[in-house]
């Protein structure tokens, strides 16, 4: 059984031994925007949703708690909540990864001494969406919080921690733990020791007494006493890490790409901690037992959301999938490129001032060309990230394993294979995030013998082979790169207000 605590909803999914989906229950939770740029969620509402969906999934599957081999938890990363250790009541709402209230604080911290050392220790650049700046903001802005935290009365947790603490008893002996992958997104964990780092805690001014114990992904070792008592919680992983695991990307150099609103690419770098020289993040892929598998991550901020923009803001299509129909009315992009730097460029450029642009317009360009340029933007952004990953690791990856809603776009998947010049493969089980959490949990419980046993469950649903002429590919890539450079120039020439 997997609980997938996502940004917009929480789901409970039951899988059988062949990794086939047996039951799904889901509930959405509210998003709060109390001020511009602030994004919050009610941790109690999320907990109540779990309380409903777990029994619902059991009913749907027609099984009892005793028949559940193990539970794995996966969750939206970086989002966290603080709560009172004695009452279990949250202190304010959970601050979501999308929240940018710490923009000024981050700029200020960026000037502090030791900032290079911070990146070196935690593998992440200083940015608003990692937990530490927002946690610091809470400690600075909630009256009396710091003193309470220092006395040990306040607990911090990413959503995995919050759910595990509640499921295993809450105020009556709940486990206060997290897994390495979630901890690796806080900016407070040292990647080499995989423990909270005193220097990082000092830098962000976070008292260690409020932090959970960091455990390997498959050594959570809790048992539920609430909701449905008696289920072993054996694993926890951040959602993108769970997708890497669910895609069975166990070998060094294997990559998965999840294509939804944004695009998330993770490459397993094995036991080697690779510090990116090409603009990627270093993180932990997963840790089964003693040895962690490290990973490089490159995120594309705008992928499916560019299609949504095309639909909602330009009104050229009625539904997102129609973008493919429109794109197929022309045979190529007609020399048009769209760089969707709506809120800056992420990996591998990291330029927050960059803004999007459409280039190559002539009187020949019609909406079909624009539709192609929209889809191709996701292809080229992927190429940039994969190039960076290959350069960091020194070996080119042989295939890209994909999942997420955009894998239904046949033209895009073929384009990905064409521009990467490697096969693109889609697995039969689309729910790779939940499956990854279930895999980790089942592995810990001995339901599956080893990684090889999991790999046997991975079945190919579709494969796109590269078919683009090499010369054409390189010409197009050069055009894309020029378009990206123009967004830098635009950023430089925009007068700062």
């Amino acid at each position: 059984m997997a609980i997938d605590q996502g940004t917009t909803s929480t789901r409970c999914i039951v899988f059988d031994q062949n990794a086939r989906l047996v039951a799904v229950a889901q509930r959405e939770h509210r998003q709060y925007h109390p001020r511009p740029g602030w994004v919050e969620q009610d941790a109690v509402e999320i907990w109540r949703n779990v309380d409903r969906i777990v029994p619902q999934a059991l009913r749907q599957a027609g099984i009892t708690a005793e028949q559940v081999v193990a539970m794995g938890i996966t969750n939206q990363r970086e989002t966290f909540v603080l709560w009172d250790r004695h009452t279990g009541v949250p202190i304010g709402r959970a601050i979501v990864w999308e929240d940018i209230r710490t923009e000024d604080l981050v700029a200020e911290l960026g000037k502090k001494q030791g900032i290079e050392e911070v990146r070196d220790r935690c593998g992440l650049p200083l940015a608003t969406y990692f937990s530490a700046p927002s946690l610091r903001w809470m400690l600075d802005n909630v009256a009396g919080l710091r003193a309470k935290a220092e006395r040990g009365d306040v607990l911090f947790g990413t959503m995995d921690t919050w759910l595990i603490w509640n499921l295993t008893g809450g105020v009556s002996g709940g486990l206060h733990v997290t897994d390495v992958t979630n901890a690796s997104r806080t900016m407070l964990m040292n990647l080499s020791t995989r423990q909270w780092d005193p220097m990082l805690l000092e830098f962000f001014g976070v008292p260690s007494s409020m932090l959970p114990e960091i455990r390997p992904s498959t050594e959570i070792s809790g048992v539920t006493t609430r909701v449905v008592p008696g289920i072993s919680i054996t694993a926890a992983l951040g959602d993108q890490h769970a997708a890497l695991f669910g895609q069975t990307c166990f070998e060094k150099g294997s990559i998965k790409g999840t294509y939804g609103t944004g695009g998330f690419l993770l490459m397993n770098t094995g036991t080697e901690l690779v510090r990116s020289k090409h603009g990627l993040l270093t993180t932990i892929g997963y840790q089964i037992g003693g040895e962690p598998a490290y990973a490089l991550e490159g995120s594309i901020a705008v992928a499916g959301s560019l299609v949504q923009w095309f639909r909602d803001n330009l009104g050229l299509i009625h539904s997102a999938p129609e973008i493919e129909t429109l794109a197929r009315t022309v045979k190529d992009n007609g020399g048009c490129y769209i760089v969707p730097a709506f809120s800056g460029l992420f990996a591998p450029h990291w330029l927050s001032q960059a803004r999007g642009l459409v280039v190559g317009l002539t009187s020949y360009i019609n909406k079909g060309h624009l539709a192609r340029a929209v889809l191709e933007a996701t292809g080229w952004q992927t190429r940039e990230v994969v190039d960076a990953m290959n350069a960091d690791l020194g070996v080119p990856t042989p295939v890209l394993k994909v999942d997420g809603g955009m894998t239904a776009d046949h033209l895009l998947m073929q384009f990905l294979a064409d521009v990467l010049d490697i096969p693109v493969m889609r697995p039969l089980v689309a729910e790779t995030v939940s499956l990854g959490a279930a895999y980790a949990a089942g592995l810990a419980a001995g339901y599956w013998p080893d990684l090889e046993g999991l790999r046997r469950n991975w079945h190919l649903a579709a494969r796109w082979n590269p078919a683009m002429d090499a010369r054409h590919r390189e010409d197009e890539y050069a055009n894309w790169k020029r378009a990206v450079e123009l967004t830098f120039a635009w950023a430089r020439s925009t007068p700062s207000s």
Partner: protein
């Protein structure tokens, strides 16, 4: 002869009203203009919205004619949208049946494959999206023929190409088979397209019952059929269930 159906007459009046003048009206205006109770008018508008003949402006709440009315004659559902909406059900069908899955729509006198899921045995397979299959010799094609009177009439006028020694080439025979398909709600075929291969398919419908496509499995004839050469009941059930799930998801999201 049954008498005229009042709600259809009223729906026609709503459409005529929206087709003239400003083309944008609120619920009260529409109800008052036609002398209908607000609840009745609302019910009609909601139904027309569901079949996409009417659209509601998100900000003003006013109603106008839907884009679907402008291209009534062309295909109702975009092929890429059908793939996107059915992808999870097609995966589930492949996982359950252990066979490859295709979704087909009619295009230019043939079955256009709009979605394809590999047989989950990790053998080397080629993605067949965009391929064209014969209507009369495949289960997908028989479903499309069975529920489209124009298509089956056209098939009767054309010569039915023989592809194997089992391909149906006589129109009367095909007619009988299509009647059977309509009666049972699914189609089967064994070695009519390729020797040693069989297929089973069922219709995908939109609200109101119109068939817009078909979903089916194909594979080795001895896997798909029993010793008497009949499609296996469990597989038929899985295919019909998948088709119903896709149909439901099309209703839900409209």
């Amino acid at each position: 002869m049954p008498g005229p159906i009042q709600s259809i007459e009223r729906a026609a009046a709503v459409l005529r009203l929206l087709a003239r003048g400003s083309g944008h009206h609120g619920l009260t205006e529409i109800a008052d203009s036609l002398g209908l109770a607000r609840g009745t008018a609302h019910g009609i508008l909601r139904t027309l919205q569901r079949v996409e003949f009417v659209e509601q402006d998100h900000t003003t709440g006013r109603y106008r004619l839907g884009a679907a009315l402008l291209h009534l004659g062309t295909s109702y559902l975009d092929a890429n949208e059908l793939r996107s909406r059915s992808i999870n059900w097609a995966d589930t069908l492949a996982a359950r049946s252990g066979q490859e899955v295709r979704i087909g729509m009619h295009h230019d006198g043939a079955v256009l494959v709009v979605h394809h899921v590999f047989r989950p045995d990790d053998s080397v397979q080629t993605l067949g999206i965009g391929a064209m299959l014969p209507l009369h010799a495949t289960a997908l094609g028989k479903v499309l023929l069975a529920y489209d009177p124009d298509l089956s009439a056209a098939a009767r006028r054309r010569e039915l190409t023989s592809l194997t020694r089992r391909t149906i080439t006589r129109t009367q025979m095909l007619e009988r088979v299509l009647t059977e398909v309509r009666g049972q709600g699914w189609a089967g075929e064994a070695e009519e397209y390729m020797p040693g291969e069989a297929s089973i398919a069922a219709p995908i419908r939109i609200p109101g019952g119109l068939v817009i496509g078909a979903i089916g499995i194909s594979g080795a004839a001895d896997r798909l059929c029993d010793s008497a050469g009949r499609p296996r009941a469990t597989l038929v059930r899985q295919v019909v269930q998948a088709a119903e799930s896709v149909t439901t998801s099309l209703v839900d999201e409209n």
